[in-house]
């Protein structure tokens, strides 16, 4: 089969071919979704290496259970759910580990302010960096579920309905979690926000 027809094949066709023993078909599916899965994983765990591992684990797990995929949702949604579940497991493990060790290096390293260069948008970059650090600090206060919902909203810009579908929750439940998360983030960002309000001339 030539590459053009392979790339045009639908997900269902590629799944059927994979189940029939065609290893190349699964490679096409991996190529089709790996970027999206990596982005979701990275949005939640905020770590390059872990996002890479979670992406790989997601595709291996999906391959193992491919015969059980009933096609009630899109393959992309199914893969994203697996990735989110794996990311959630990782967050919980990390939280458990952090209870016994005070290794917060991965978080702290984001607070390091990089040297500002002399380019015109340097100040804007610095402020964006400060805001990013403040948000990261605020995220520490969130539970795993709140963190996942907040990050899918903040980094991936998913709508509440999309998040609800991905997490298998009611839309109202997601909204409630997001509200609680935003209130915690707001408190943490209060200082940063106040600073902006004191200096209204500064661009946000």
């Amino acid at each position: 089969m030539n590459p053009i027809s392979e790339s045009a094949a639908t997900d269902s066709e590629l799944i059927a071919r994979t189940l029939g023993g065609d290893g190349n078909a699964y490679g096409i599916l991996v190529d089709r979704f790996q970027r999206k899965i990596y982005r979701v994983a990275y949005a939640i765990v905020r770590d390059d290496v872990e996002a890479d591992t979670i992406t790989q684990d997601t595709f291996v797990q999906a391959y193992t259970h491919l015969a059980r995929f009933q096609g009630r949702s899109e393959l992309e949604t199914w893969l994203t759910r697996i990735a989110i579940n794996r990311s959630r497991d990782w967050l919980r493990r990390r939280k458990l580990v952090s209870l016994f060790s005070h290794d917060d290096e991965s978080d702290e390293r984001q607070y390091v302010i990089e040297p500002v260069d002399e380019r015109p948008d340097a100040e804007r970059q610095l402020m964006a960096h400060q805001l990013r650090a403040a948000i990261t600090r605020a995220e520490r206060l969130l539970s795993s579920q709140q963190k996942i919902i907040f990050r899918l909203r903040h980094y991936e810009h998913h709508s509440l309905e999309e998040i609800a579908e991905l997490l298998g929750l009611q839309s109202g439940t997601v909204r409630a979690h997001l509200f609680r998360a935003i209130h915690k983030v707001r408190r943490e960002l209060a200082e940063w926000v106040t600073m902006r309000e004191v200096n209204p001339d500064e661009t946000l």
Partner: protein
């Protein structure tokens, strides 16, 4: 006119902007707040943007690793299935062999010991049963007198009547 705070605008950004109708209505009328909201939105989007654009080599390496793990899993699954089949065959052979050996070495069936039980004879009514009963009137000794008794009994009736009705 009351302006919305940064915190309120922040909340509006994260919740569905379309759902915060009071804020959105205010923003449509208040240029100052609209500009602030736009800046905030821009900043948050900038802060949220992360560089996940990796070089092509990153994706090809990742894909290669995934396919390698998938293939390894296939081999592992095949090995596990083969091992399972071999184990099942071994168990079956063990039981069949055991059954065969048992049939071979099993001692020949001994004839059941004959227990001679004295037949229970139920005494049936009849002559045979009467034989066993010692009846003094049926003894062999009386048989000798049988003819005599029979002779004496054979007396003409007329004579018998003359003798006063007595046969003897």
């Amino acid at each position: 006119m009351k302006h919305f705070s940064e915190a309120e605008l922040l909340e509006t950004y994260y919740t569905q902007p379309g759902e915060s109708m009071p804020v959105m209505m205010h923003l449509s009328n208040c240029h100052e707040c609209a500009v602030r909201y736009e800046r905030l939105e821009q900043k948050l989007r900038q802060a949220a943007s992360c560089n996940t654009d990796k070089p092509a080599t990153f994706w090809s390496r990742q894909r290669l690793q995934i396919m390698r793990r998938v293939n390894a899993q296939q081999v592992h699954a095949a090995t596990a299935a083969r091992t399972l089949r071999v184990a099942a065959a071994a168990i079956l052979a063990f039981f069949l062999g055991g059954a065969l050996v048992y049939e071979t070495v099993r001692p020949a069936p001994q004839p059941a010991p004959v227990v001679r039980v004295a037949p229970v004879t139920v005494a049936a009514p009849g002559p045979a049963a009467n034989d066993n009963i010692h009846d003094a009137w049926q003894s062999d000794e009386l048989k000798d007198f049988h003819n005599v008794v029979e002779w004496e009994a054979w007396v003409p009736e007329s004579k018998a009547n003359t003798n006063g009705g007595s046969s003897l």
